[in-house]
Symmetry: C2
């Protein structure tokens, strides 16, 4: 079994004056998260979709899914947790409860605010997670990446060809997630914004799936404008 | 004295079927590089502009500057070098020859294919280069950054809040560049795609100037579409 876990835990902070979380903003007339859900429902690899939503926004999300997917039995909501990984854990529990997921089930986690992922990326995630247990979708950095430990001056400039921007999906077997998540100390979980970092810290080889420049995250108002322009402009090549 | 050095050394490889370097592609009816030059000519901090262009495209560039800036005395071209740093060295030589630049002159180097830089970014670059000798324009990473030494699986996931995407301008005193560039071995210069990395490797503190999400690089056809959409859509907030 393969389940898509869509992380829509955000409460809307970086979008300027608006208080609405980015996943609910309109893109070509439809909320961003609805576009994302549609992609997974359309993928032949995916058996069910679980959307993790911040408790404050669960009601609104339920209204949206009732409106856009009234007949869809393979789509359910889960309450978001305190952190991204907490939300993923809640998505997993909901998957077990509703769809009988077990340790061997593949969970394809994805940002609600990356509506432009392709069928190719979903397919390669499922394949890599089945083969290796865990994988990450990445895109070779176009900009030089620099590190600053003090926010004042550069403390490292790693060689560019080894650097990637992490995208999503990030996919893994549920059993492996449980094992790793339970082994983390509270201190380790602090500021752990990335699920693959957790696997990496426990010594798992996290295999790479090639992302796409169009699979970007809608973070700033600028990004939403870009995303709307993309859809209005027709196909994105 | 402050001189802008615009790096337009590209010969056009990542833009799909087109053979035209990205800096010459049309953005709202005008070549990308012309937009970029206009920004620097409009900045009160900048005394002159030198554009480094690949030898194969010098003639075309000269036609463009004659067309768009027929009366401009403070704009000249320099032939591009074998590498980005080689192009910057040629820009510096041309600045000395044409404008009497010396070791104390501030050189504000910028990618021709980042036409959306702001006056604020130019101003802060000049200020930081005057104060510290060298600075880099960076933008906090929105995506997790990952490292893979083998292109197969993750070999590091640095803490996100310490990671930045390098943009340009990258600004420095010409005397400092000469000192650092001359000290590099041929092996060190191989694959040195970033001028700030060179300063960093020689122990200089490269101070950070805050970039902007709109100051992106036009690399893929997707980016050009975005850039056009931005300009058609009016102001980018």
């Amino acid at each position: 079994m393969v389940i898509a876990g869509i992380v829509a835990g955000g409460v809307g902070q970086r979008m300027g004056q608006s208080n609405m979380p980015k996943q609910f903003m309109k893109l070509a007339g439809k909320p961003v998260v609805i576009h994302t859900i549609e992609k997974f429902l359309a993928s032949p690899e995916i058996d069910a979709v679980v959307v993790g939503v911040h408790p404050d926004w669960l009601h609104m999300m339920a209204d949206l899914t009732a409106k856009y997917f009234p007949e869809e039995k393979n789509l359910v909501l889960a309450p978001g947790g305190d952190s991204r990984n907490g939300t993923i854990r809640n998505i997993i529990e909901k998957s077990e409860e509703m769809f009988g997921a077990d340790g061997g089930t593949i969970m394809v986690t994805h940002d609600a605010v990356r509506p432009f992922l392709s069928m190719r990326i979903i397919r390669e995630n499922v394949k890599a997670a089945e083969k290796y247990g865990v994988c990450d979708t990445v895109f070779g950095a176009t900009d030089t990446i620099i590190q600053s430990e003090n926010q004042e001056y550069i403390t490292d400039v790693p060689i560019r060809k080894t650097m990637y921007q992490g995208q999503t999906p990030q996919s893994f077997r549920i059993g492996l997630f449980r094992e790793v998540f339970q082994s983390m100390t509270e201190k380790e979980l602090e500021g752990m914004t990335d699920v693959c970092r957790m696997f990496f810290l426990r010594g798992h080889k996290v295999y790479l799936v090639e992302g796409d420049s169009s699979n970007f995250k809608i973070t700033y108002p600028f990004d939403l404008k870009m995303a709307n322009a993309m859809l209005e402009g027709g196909s994105h090549d």
